[in-house]
Each structure stands twice: as C-alpha cells, then as structure tokens.
C-alpha cells in the first residue's frame, strides 16, 4: 500500500513547543540508565524513538508520562514542571505502556468508563467521550466483550482507546505494534496515522521501516543517550555525506603496508581492515564530508603494484545508519546534523 510522504514540513518548526525534556538523567541504584536526554516536542508532530532493547526508550517515556521522576533534569509540559503539578499535567498526556494486558475481567466499555472516571470525566461528558473513543478505535462492535477474550489487535486498540480518553494533547505509545500479526500491524499503523492528524505523538519502536513510515522526526537512542536526531531523510543524507568507500585488494597486499599508505591520503577519517579469502583485504574507509578520494586511492594502489579488485561507494539505508550509530557508539557521540 502506498505510504504517504510525511517529510518535514517547515510548518512544524514554527508550531509551539508542547513538551520539553531538559537534560534528563535517570539512575537505578547507582546505574545510569539515561544520560542527559534533551528534546522538544512540537505541536502536531510525530516523534519516533528508535533504539535497540535497553536503550532507554521506555525509561524516557515513563519519565515523560509521570510514571517516575528523573534523577536529574526536568520535564516541562507547556512551561510547567510535570513533577510539580502532576495531577493537572498528567491529564494532558495519554500513555500506552509496552505489552500492557489491561484488566482481562472487565468489558471493553466498562474498562473505558473506569479510565474516564479516573481521568475526572463525569456524566454526559464521560459517556460521550467513551462512545467516541469506542467508535474511533473500531471497538464499537466488541464493547460488551471481556477484554481477555479479545484478540491481541483489539486489545491494543483498547489500550490506545484508554490513552485517548480525556482527549490528551500528547499521546505516548511504547512499541504499539509489538507482538501483533502483520494484518494487525497495518491496522494499528493506520489508526496511529489517523490520530496523528489531530494530536502530537511520540512512539517508540525497534522496527525501522515503521519510523520512516509514520514519523516526522526520529531520535535514535542508545545506552541512555540520544545519538542522532532529525527526519529520516536528514539522517540518511547526513550520514551519506560522510560517506564510505569499500575497497577490495588482492594479494600480495599486506595489512601494515596498506595502513601506512593510507596514512598519506588526506580526508580518510576511519579505516576498517578485514582479511578475506585467499589473501584478499577488504578495507572500509570513512571519508571526510564532501571529499572524493577514489581517484587518488586507485592511483596510489597502482603505483605500489597492489592489485585493486574492487572499489565502491557505500550506500546507507536507515537500517545501516541505525546499525552504524549503535555499533560505533563506543567511539563517542556523533553529530549527524
């Protein structure tokens, strides 16, 4: 099915900031799980958190939803500190935790009414809100069913519906498509896309295509730090510019000699060397932005009588970027933008 191009609209840059995390860190028993996370959430955007398991996505979301306070830093919801006025500000945020099972012994409608009660809705307002969310999330036909008898997809819809009760401005969804079958995934994605037209969303995922499909902006988290952020396109171009050249050399190429030669080439920032079969050497070279070293390289290898078997420019998909950022993270944080 065709995916609408969400691209970055410059409009988003001007829309007001709804929520802001300022230098947020979280420690559990001396172990630092989040380290200086800062970002802004602008009205109307969909922000995606991308990262391997244990990167700190859920912890960040939990802090943003008022589950627990950060160890350092603060969270502002429209310039008010979330942890100073939790009862008031939590109403502005709807949250779907990862793999929440909900109350299996409640009926869908009864559950949403309970949530509406807790969110402070009463009377006609409560009834209208519950009915609207039942329709919105496609739950109308199952409203009298027990939650534990629902399929996973429907249960996830009920989870999204409870987050929507009370019409919060910000919706935080932690891995909303996790554990669903492909058809359910598409349905939930469509629902999220529909919701995004009137709300601001944050969602986390470890499925890469999902990010480019749904999100206006992506933040890649690893080991409790933001290692990159921007639109999916920006991330791709940003990394492609500091591109990569992969060179394959035939015998008698020698590791040390090659490394020495490469030292003399300006613009090479990183060298990865790997020995292939039958004396072949595979070099992965990180090259400075805006520089093409291929001509110089080929000349150099020819002069030194090293057989040049192959040379190509590496192309990075979002997947490669993700892998690179996460794997190279030990080299220290990198600014993609």
């Amino acid at each position: 099915m065709p995916e609408p191009d969400r691209g970055t609209s410059s409009l988003l840059e001007e829309s007001p900031v709804l929520a802001r995390m300022e230098d947020v860190s979280k420690e559990f028993g001396g172990k630092r799980v989040l380290n200086g996370i800062s970002f802004e959430l602008r009205k109307g955007e969909i922000l995606g958190f991308l990262g391997p398991n244990g990167a700190g996505k859920t912890t960040t979301m939990r802090i943003l939803t008022g589950f627990f306070p950060p160890s350092h830093g603060r969270v502002l919801i429209q310039d008010e500190d979330l942890f100073k006025k939790p009862k008031k500000l939590k109403r502005r945020i709807g949250y779907l935790p990862e793999s929440v099972q909900l109350y299996g012994d409640m009926r869908v409608r009864e559950f949403l009414e309970f949530v509406a009660d807790l969110k402070g809705l009463r009377g006609r307002k409560k009834r209208q809100d519950v009915e609207e969310k039942l329709t919105r999330c496609g739950l109308w036909d199952v409203k009298h069913r027990l939650i534990h008898k629902l399929s996973k997809g429907y249960r996830q819809r009920a989870g999204i519906a409870q987050a929507l009760i009370g019409n919060p401005e910000i919706l935080v969804l932690d891995e909303p498509t996790n554990g669903l079958d492909p058809k359910q995934i598409i349905e939930i994605r469509n629902l999220i896309r529909e919701l995004s037209s009137e709300r601001t969303l944050i969602l986390s995922t470890h499925i890469l295509p999902e990010v480019s499909m749904l999100c206006d902006r992506v933040m890649i988290l690893n080991k409790g730090k933001v290692i990159a952020s921007g639109t999916a396109d920006e991330l791709e171009t940003g990394l492609r510019e500091r591109h990569e050249v992969v060179v394959t050399l035939g015998p008698p190429a020698e590791k040390m000699a090659v490394l020495k030669l490469l030292d003399g080439v300006p613009g090479i920032e990183r060298v990865g060397i790997e020995a292939g079969k039958e004396g072949v050497l595979i070099l992965t070279l990180g090259v400075e932005k805006g520089r093409d070293v291929r001509a110089e390289l080929s000349r150099m290898f020819v002069i030194n009588s090293i057989p040049l078997l192959e040379m190509r420019s590496g192309h990075l998909s979002l997947e490669d970027i993700f892998m690179k950022l996460v794997v190279n993270e030990d080299d220290g944080p990198r600014e993609v933008l």
Binding site: E27, F28, G29, V33, T59, R62, T65, G66, F67, F68, P69, P86, K87, K88, K90, R91, I93, Y95, P97, S99, V100, Q101, L102, Y103, G104, D105, M106, F114, V115, D117, L118, K119, G120, Q162
Partner: protein, 258 residues
C-alpha cells in the same frame, strides 16, 4: 477523595466477579455457620440440663457470651485463611498485568492508589461479615434475649482486626507480582502475628508484656468480651497506618528500582 472511591469500587467489583471471591464467601458462611450452629446447640443442651437440675439460670453463662464470644474468636481464626485470599491479587495482579503502570500515569497520587485499594478490601470484608447479623435474627427467632453491648464491641473488634490483617496483606501484595507468593507470605505473616501471644506466655516477664502488647489477638479478645478500651482501638489504628505507610513506600520504589 473521589479517586480513592473509584479505585476502591473497582477493587471490590473485581473481587466479587472472581472465583476466589465466590470461594471466600462460600467458605466463610460455611465455617461460620457451622461454628454458630454448634455453639447454639451446645448452649441449648447445657441450659436444658441445668433446667433439669432445677436451676433457672447459670451464673456467668449468658447466651451472648456463650454463643457470640466463642463465635467471634473462632471467626478470627478463619480470617487467617481468608485474608490472604482476599488480598493476594490486589496489587500483585496489577503489577503482573502492568495495569499498575497505567494507574501511575493517570492523574492519581500514590495515596489514592494505596488507600483506594485498601478501602476496596475493607468493603469486601464488610460485605462478607455484615450478613452474619442474620445469626442475631436467628437467635431472636428462637426466643433468645441478648446483651447488645458485647455484640457491638465484638463487631467493632472483628472489623478492626480484619482491616488490620487486610492492610498487612495489601502490603505483601505490593511486593510481588505472583498471587500465590502473595497469599503464602501473607498467611505466614498472619500466622507469626497470631503466635506472638503464645511466644509472650512462653518467655514470661517483661517479654510477655511486650509480646502481649504487639499481638493483635490479645487486643481483640477484650472486644469479644464486651470491653471497649481505647488503647485497643489505638493499637489497631496504628497497625493500619504502619502497613499502609509501608504499602505507599513500596509503590514508591519504582522511582529508584527498575
């Protein structure tokens, strides 16, 4: 306060809709009914015999004291078994289903959650024992005359004792996500509390005073005898506060424990 009631009524409804709820009600009426019938029958036998011997009444053997004091003491032992079943799922189940995570992010305070849960358990307990007032009606129907004072204090004592046990059970339930662990540990805890008094009589001296002072049963017994002593009421209130405080601390541990 509204949030407390919403959480509490959900707690009560969930329990009444569950099989463990059905079991607790069935078991409680079965056992208390047996205790009641047996004590009424044995009271009847004793008083018939005393009539045969030519006495009108026996000194110190009032109907109220014989039937109800005994019944309340026995029912307190039944609580040892029933309270763990009532409290086992309270917070443990929410933790397992991760619905606790939802509650934390709704506009609720930790106080609303802990006190709401506790109040819900108290309502369940009240629904459980209030129908025992029917026993009074049975006695009345049989032509018995009873002394209201001791009956009211006994109910008050039973209510306080049950609530104290529930607060302990709620705390244990907040520590685990496994209902079975929750029930077993609560039962063990109540058993230890139950035995404190025996420990007291075993050690003697200053130890006996101490253990008697902390044992809920020593405080409860006076209620069943119709003695209303403020210090006993204060003891039970402190018991509640202590475990509710621990429950709130336990809910708060999410702040520093992943």
């Amino acid at each position: 306060m509204r949030n407390v009631f919403i959480v509490a009524s959900k707690e009560t409804r969930t329990f009444l809709n569950s099989w463990s709820g059905v079991f607790v009600f069935f078991f409680f009426y079965l056992v208390s009914g047996i205790f009641f019938s047996l004590s009424v029958l044995s009271y009847a036998r004793i008083s018939m015999e005393s009539l045969k011997e030519g006495y009108q009444t026996i000194e110190g053997l009032g109907l109220t004291r014989y039937v109800f004091s005994g019944l309340f003491l026995n029912m307190s032992a039944v609580l040892l078994f029933l309270v763990p079943i009532i409290t086992m799922r309270s917070l443990a189940e929410e933790r397992k289903l991760q619905t606790l995570e939802l509650l934390y992010t709704y506009p609720l305070s930790d106080f609303d959650i802990a006190v709401g849960k506790f109040l819900g358990l108290v309502w369940i307990f009240e629904l459980l024992f209030l129908p025992t007032l029917g026993y009074l009606w049975v006695i009345h129907g049989l032509g018995g005359v009873f002394d209201w004072g001791p009956i009211l204090t006994a109910y008050l004592g039973f209510w306080l004792l049950g609530n104290a046990f529930l607060s302990l059970g709620l705390f244990v339930s907040s520590l685990t996500e496994n209902q079975v662990v929750s029930a077993v540990v609560t039962f063990a805890g109540l058993l230890v509390v139950w035995m404190l008094e025996w420990v007291g009589s075993a050690v003697g001296g200053a130890g006996a005073v101490f253990f008697k002072a902390v044992s809920p049963f020593a405080h409860y017994r006076d209620f069943t005898l119709g003695i209303l002593d403020l210090s006993h009421v204060v003891y039970f209130l402190l018991f509640h506060f202590f475990f509710l405080f621990l429950t709130m601390r336990s809910i708060e541990t999410r702040h520093w424990n992943s």
